[in-house]
Symmetry: D3
Subunit: 136 residues, 6 copies
C-alpha cells in the first residue's frame, strides 16, 4: 500500500458565524474570525489517496489525474470565492476549517473511488500555524 | 549602515475593482480578483529599516519596537478585516497589492523616523507566487 | 473525528549530557550537541488534538484556546530560556528532543482533557532536518 | 514509543517509461514525465524510525547515525545521478516516486534494524506539490 | 516606482561541461555537476519587473500577464526538458545557473518592454542553498 | 555582473548584554534576549558574492568553493557553540544579529577577494521573523 499526496491552494473569503446568533454572541464563540464584513486566507489543501501500485506502470493513480479531480470538484468552487455565499458544498454550514475539511472529503471520496484510489486524508491548512486533518 | 527586516502576517478579505466600472469591465481588468462577493489572502508583510548601529548597544532599533509599530499602525487595521471597507488608509483606493504597499509605506515612514530609523522597503506578499516591493 | 494542529515556536539553549559522565564520554555519545558551554535552536512545536466537532459550532476546540494552553504550559517555560537549567519539567532529564517531546506531552495531556479535547501527537522539530513525534 | 525523522535531499535525473512501449504510449501513460531526453528534480527524502528511548541516554538512535545510513545506502546512489541508468536499486524498475519509495525502504530496513531501530515510513517528495509515503 | 515579482517553477535535467574538455577535466571544474548521464533540479524562477502604477487601475502590469510571458517564453522551454539538448536559448552555452539566468533575461526583456514594464531582476534558484541573480 | 548566493545554517547559544550594566539594565535594553543563562537559535546565513562570469566556464566562483570558505571561516566557529564565549571574531562584542553580520563580513571579505569574487551582502536570519543585512 502506497500513499500519494497532492497539494493545491485556494484563496477564499469567509466568516465563522451561526445565523441564529447575534454578532456579539458570534464574536464570543469565534472571535475576530466572525467579523461580519469577512476576512480571508490562502488555504493549502493536501489530499492523500492510497492504493497498490500497478506492477507494470509503477503507480496506482497519476498525480495529474488527482490534481484534476481536486481542481474540478473542490478548488474551482473555492478559489477567489466567498465560501459562505458561493461554495455549494458549504451551504448551510459554519465555515470552520473542520467543516470545510469534512465537506471536501464528501466531494472527493466517490470520484476517487471511480479512479481506483481510496481517499485517505483531507488536510486543510488555514494559516502557517493552524491546520485540520480528516480521515473519514 | 545595517538593514533590519521584520516579518508580520495578516489575513484580510479584499476585492479589486474601480467603482465607476461595471462588474464585467472590472472582471476584464482584474480577472477573478474582482469577484463582487470578495475573496482573501494570508498576506505577509516585510518591513526593512536601515540605520547605523549604536556602538554600545549593537543595534539601531530593537526588532520588538519595530514589531510594535507595524502591529499598531498596519496589522491591527488589516488582520481579519475587509481592507476595502474597514481599513482607513485604503479608503478610496483600488485594493491592489501595489496600492497596499504604498499605503503601508505612508503609515510607517514617520513613526519610524521618530524612532531614529529610516524606512527602506515595504514588501507585501499576496501569495507564495506574487509579491510587491516599494522603496518610497 | 477531526484532528486539529497548532504550531508554536520557541528559542532555547540546551546541552545533551549525562551528569555522571565526563565531557569526553558525553562527546562520544552526543557529539557536538554536548558542548559544555551550550548551543541552541529555534524549536518548532506542533500539537495535534482530536475530537468530534460540535454540530452547532463546527469545531470541538478553538485554535486560540489551544494556543493559550501551549503558551502557558510549555512555550513560556522554554522560550529564551536554558532548558537544562530553567525549565521545570525538564529538570533531571537529558535534554534530547525525544525527552522534550515526552515531557511536553505530560504537561499538555490533562489540561487538554479538561477542554474536552484528546491530545493526539506532540511533534518537536529541532532543525529543518530533524524532528521527533510522540503519541503517548 | 518515539518516532524520529531525518530529512535529506538529492538531485537526480529520471524518466518514467516502460521499455516495451513506444514513446507515444509512454507519453499517454506518464505525460511529460516520460520525456526521452530526461528531466530531473530536487527530491526530499524523509525517513522515520521508531523505538523506545533508552532511559539513560534519552534516545534510541542518534540522528547523526540515521543520517549516515541514509547517505551511504541511498543518497550517495541518487544524488547528481541518473536514477534510471546509475542507481543499482532502481535497475529494471519504472522510475516512479512510488517505486523509488519502496526501493529505498528495501535498502534501509535491514541496516536500521541492526542499529536497534525500526523503519516506520519512507517519504519521497518530488516537488513541493507531490509526495509519496510507504510504510512497508 | 513599484517592483512586482512573480515566482514560477520548472524541473529540468542538465549537465555542466565544456565540449572540448575530457570528462576528467570537466569533473575537476564542475565536480559532480558534470556527471555525463545528467542530473536535474526543481528550479525556482523569480522575475521582478518595475514600473509606475497607473493611478486608475492601481498597477502597471497584471501579475497574470507576467505569468503568461514567463510561461511561454521560458518555463515551457525548460520544464520536463533537458536544458542542454532541448532548450533553444541554452544551445551552445555551458548550463550553469549563471548562464541560465542571463539567457532568461534575454528572452524576457523585450516582451516585457512591450507590456510597458521594465525587467529588473532574474533570479534562478537551483536548490534551497544556491541561487543566482542577474540585473542586466 | 552576476550575484551568487549560498545559504548555510548554524545553531548557537548567545546572550545580548553589555558587561558594564546590571541584569536589570540589560533586560530593559534587550528584553528576554539578555537572559543570563543563555538561549539560542538556528541561524540562517546567506552570503552573496558578485563577479563577471568567465565566458568559458560560465561562472566566476564555484558555489562549492563559496560553501567551503563560509564553513571554515564562519560556520565552524559558530555551530553548536556559545558565540559570546567561544567565537573568536565575536569576542568583546554585544552578540546582536547586527554585530554578528558585520563580524561575518570582516571574516569573509578578504578570503573571497583572493578567489576573485567580491563580497556583496551578508544576511543573517535569527528567526523566521527577523533578519539583518550588511553590505559593507
Amino acid at each position: 500500500m502506497i500513499y500519494l499526496t497532492r497539494r493545491e491552494r485556494f484563496s477564499s473569503a469567509h466568516r465563522m458565524f451561526r445565523p441564529g446568533l447575534s454578532d456579539e454572541e458570534n464574536m464570543r464563540i469565534y472571535g475576530k474570525c466572525s467579523n461580519p464584513l469577512w476576512h480571508g486566507h490562502n488555504y493549502v489543501l493536501k489530499v492523500t489517496v492510497r492504493g497498490e501500485p500497478d506492477t507494470e506502470t509503477g503507480f496506482f493513480m497519476n498525480a495529474t489525474r488527482l490534481k484534476e479531480i481536486m481542481t474540478v470538484k473542490v478548488v474551482a468552487k473555492l478559489d477567489h470565492k466567498n465560501m459562505n455565499l458561493e461554495t455549494d458544498f458549504m451551504a448551510g454550514k459554519v465555515a470552520t476549517t473542520e467543516n470545510l475539511a469534512m465537506a471536501i472529503w464528501n466531494e472527493l471520496a466517490a470520484p476517487l473511488t471511480e479512479e481506483g484510489a481510496t481517499l485517505h486524508c483531507v488536510r486543510v491548512e488555514e494559516t502557517e500555524n493552524n491546520y485540520v486533518e480528516y480521515y473519514g
